[in-house]
């Protein structure tokens, strides 16, 4: 068990976006959270990664209570998120962007050493794994949409995550791009023992690679388990009727 949330709760005004959620993510899994729009998936992610502050509940990562920690400290511990809209640095090259994640993870952001040539091997490895080797020298702003998404993933990988939270990683991607990103994610998981928790709309993507699926509806979990179990659940079928 790498991540556990206990009674995680968040209300906005009168609406409960995340309703006392208890979720367990096992180490090494590729774990998907699915649910219709407004189910609370993104809010849940935001709570876990401290983009938002939970109203109640606990978040336990690697047996450590991280509920009170800020986003930068959580990241150092290995809980890293990516953003749905590629959140990159327009004026840094792809290469430098990945370098910074790596260097930040090593705690070196106060170093006055020149950045040129640092963590060269690791940076090139990561860029290659997302297919951005050719575009390494291009500024973030000049990359195509698809490449920005790859860079987004590369920046996240630079933090050497133990648990990777991906917020709708294939949103806006073409079919081939989706396939390659998903292959990349599952190979990352196998190769580095990386746990991946992602939320998605695209069912084919989810059932293709997820080892475990959690279904959310109106802020609460309505189903949780292996893909076959979830697929058979009548409750899930009811909620999703007409949603596909």
């Amino acid at each position: 068990m790498i991540l556990e949330t206990v009674g995680l709760n968040k209300t906005f005004g009168g609406i409960t976006a995340v309703d006392k959620m208890d979720l367990i993510v096992n180490e090494g899994d590729v774990h998907a959270i699915i649910g219709p729009n407004g189910a609370g998936k993104s809010t849940f992610f935001n709570l876990v990664t401290k983009y938002l502050k939970p109203d109640a509940g606990k978040v336990i990562f690697n047996k450590e209570d991280i509920t009170e920690m800020g986003p930068d400290r959580i990241c150092k511990r290995g809980l890293v998120r990516s953003f749905q809209r590629a959140s990159i640095y327009p004026m840094l090259t792809a290469y430098e962007s990945v370098q910074m994640s790596l260097l930040s993870q090593e705690g070196k952001t106060l170093s006055f050493r020149l950045i040129k040539g640092l963590v060269k091997k690791e940076t090139e490895e990561i860029l290659e794994s997302v297919g951005l080797t050719e575009q390494a020298g291009f500024l973030g702003a000049s990359l195509s949409q698809g490449d920005k998404k790859r860079l987004e993933l590369a920046i996240t990988l630079g933090n050497r995550p133990k648990l990777l939270l991906l917020d709708e990683p294939t949103a806006g991607m073409s079919h081939e791009e989706t396939k390659s990103i998903m292959e990349l994610i599952s190979s990352m998981s196998e190769r580095h023992g990386l746990t991946v928790l992602f939320c998605e709309h695209d069912m084919s993507v989810v059932f293709g690679i997820a080892k475990r699926i959690t279904v959310m509806h109106q802020g609460a979990i309505i189903a949780d388990g292996k893909p076959e179990e979830v697929r058979k659940s009548t409750r899930v079928k009811k909620i999703y009727l007409g949603e596909e």
């Binding site: 990664t49 983009y51 800020g70 890293v80 640095y89 004026m91 106060l110 950045i115 500024l139």
Partner: protein, 327 residues
């Protein structure tokens, strides 16, 4: 639209080559110039240092600070007080001036860092105006509106040419430090904060801590500029603090190019040269420089050097679309 890392490209442009050329000119030419031009060149050096302090925050950290005048003034006033009222040595006075400016930067920085955007700009200007107001109204100790006159550098530096070389040494040192900071991991962390402060936090950069350090460094540099300016001008006045003083380095960086290494220095050079030319014909310099700044911000936000760099890059490299295999 830049296609490659423009900072790396500027190395291709022969940044080192330009620096070398500049160094040779800066060292060899002044002895051949008349006193008027040596003094002007000296001013350019001081303002370059001052401008770099502003562009560190604006160009590389993305925060517009209207408070640099405070640190310039604090550095200047401390040096003035020490040199006129005590008998401490000149180096000691300079160090004390910089230290004082750094402390004030730390105090104001602690608060400024906790604000963003327009509030940051206003709060930093409040920090500057407090200093301005105090120097303007205190007659007993600080000379009030007239400031403190009769500040002399030590005999060894009292000639225009010798003080120029002294300022040149300091400016060169600051330029090297600036280059180092801007291209270091720390400097890149500032760039991450500039480009995407949210993302910077989420990859683990301690944003507040790094911004605070940058703010203090910038204050120290501004203080250094003030500290070496005052013995040069022989007087310190309240107009060397405050909002108006704070705008000058920002404007100079913007004119030259906030994100280019030589931008602030270039902007300072242009400013001071233009000022001296305009003032020989008319006293209405503000309207000229105001119009120039307006035009540059409206049409050339990257500054003059930024524009040149962009054009150079565009003419030399293909677009990413052309070099990528078709999908």
């Amino acid at each position: 639209m830049e296609f490659l890392n423009t900072e790396r490209v500027s190395l291709l442009l022969g940044q080192k080559r330009w620096a070398f050329l500049l160094a040779i000119i800066a060292v060899a030419v002044p002895p051949l110039m008349g006193r008027y031009w040596i003094v002007l060149a000296n001013e350019i050096l001081v303002q370059s240092i001052f401008a770099m302090s502003a562009s560190l925050l604006y160009g590389y950290m993305g925060r517009l600070s209207f408070g640099q005048g405070a640190y310039f003034g604090v550095g200047g006033y401390i040096v003035a007080l020490l040199l006129t009222k005590t008998s401490v040595s000149f180096p000691f006075a300079l160090v004390a001036g910089v230290a004082g400016a750094t402390i004030y930067a730390a105090v104001t920085g602690y608060f400024c860092i906790r604000t963003t955007g327009i509030y940051f700009a206003i709060l930093s200007s409040v920090g500057a105006e407090v200093v301005h107001y105090i120097t303007f109204t205190n007659y007993s100790f600080l000379g009030g509106e007239n400031g403190i006159p009769n500040i002399y550098p030590p005999a060894a530096l009292s000639g225009a040419l010798t003080y120029y070389y002294f300022s040149l040494g300091i400016a060169a040192g600051v330029l090297v430090v600036y280059w180092l900071i801007v291209n270091s991991v720390f400097g890149y962390s500032l760039r991450c904060i500039r480009d995407n402060p949210e993302r910077a936090t989420f990859i683990g950069i301690p944003v507040r801590r790094n911004m605070f350090i940058a703010f203090v460094i910038s204050g120290a540099i501004a203080g250094l500029a003030g500290a070496i300016f005052v013995p040069f001008s022989r007087i310190v006045t309240p107009s060397m603090c405050g909002l108006f003083k704070s705008m000058e380095p920002v404007f100079m960086s913007v004119i030259g190019g906030g994100r280019v290494l030589f931008g602030p220095m270039f902007g300072a050079t242009l400013w001071i040269l233009m000022e001296s030319i305009v003032l020989t014909y008319t006293e209405y310099w503000p309207i000229v420089i105001g119009s120039i700044v307006m035009v540059i911000v409206l049409f050339m936000p990257g500054g003059v050097l930024g524009l040149l760099q962009g054009k150079f890059v565009a003419s030399r490299h293909k677009t990413p679309e052309a070099t990528k295999p078709t999908k």
